[in-house]
Amino acid sequence: MSTSELDRQWTTRLRRRAVSKIPPEKMLPDTQPSYVSSWIYVFGVATISALIVVIATGCILALRGPTWWHGSDVGHFVNSLHLWSVEIFFFSMVIHLWGKYFMAAWRGGRAMTWITGMVLFLVSIVTALTGYVSQSNFDSQWISTQAKDAINSSGGGAYFNLLNFGQMLMWHIVLLPLALVFLVAVHVVLVRIKGVVPPFEVNPRSDHE
């Protein structure tokens, strides 16, 4: 195959485009600007760490099933790990959101980073709701019967029926986690491409370590 033929291949073009848009040195940088040495920059990665624990414990719960997570000590423990890692996930995400809001983190062409973060927050809330109604206990019955009215009043009840346990479970363990992981990947890649937003008073070009 000649060089010109190789150049025309879609794999070659896609690879070159990907490398030019997201160069490896930006994906895994060796240094960060000095202003990143602050606790307020920790909460984004804390959120992702909590999400990893959420997914790992969710996989164990999916393998063992409701009888196990309701009826055994280890099941209770893993169920609790799943719940409390979700609590840390939202706790960290809200502080991350506050921090980025007051930094105006959409500055410098970072609008899509901000928007993907906001969409992630909303998708996370729906994922948590479907998780609450998938517990298969009185709590989930109560939440689903209360929340169905909100969804029905918005006209979405035909597509998102909180009383349909199977549908809610599939949203919770398939569709929404896929959306979350995809959006997190896009969000992180955007952060890496554009870099961390600098504080208002710092010139990012002159403040690298």
Binding site: S34, S37, S38, W39, I40, V42, F43, E87, F91, V94, I95, W98, G99, E209
Partner: protein, 59 residues
């Protein structure tokens, strides 16, 4: 023994306590979480980050 100990420390077998203020209604648990988030946010802004001074000296 473990569950009994937790039950003695944190008796949870009762309805949530709610705070009412005009049209606002919030459970004590949610209010505590929001307060903790605010405290953590302020602490994250004020507390020194480990190694920051060392990095500045190296610059």
């Amino acid at each position: 023994m473990g569950p009994l100990l937790y039950a003695a420390l944190l008796p949870l077998n009762h309805p949530d306590h709610y705070f009412h203020w005009h049209f606002l209604e919030i459970s004590a648990a949610n209010l505590i979480v929001i307060a903790l988030m605010l405290v953590t946010f302020v602490a994250a802004l004020l507390l020194p980050f480990p190694g920051r001074r060392r990095r500045r000296q190296n610059q």
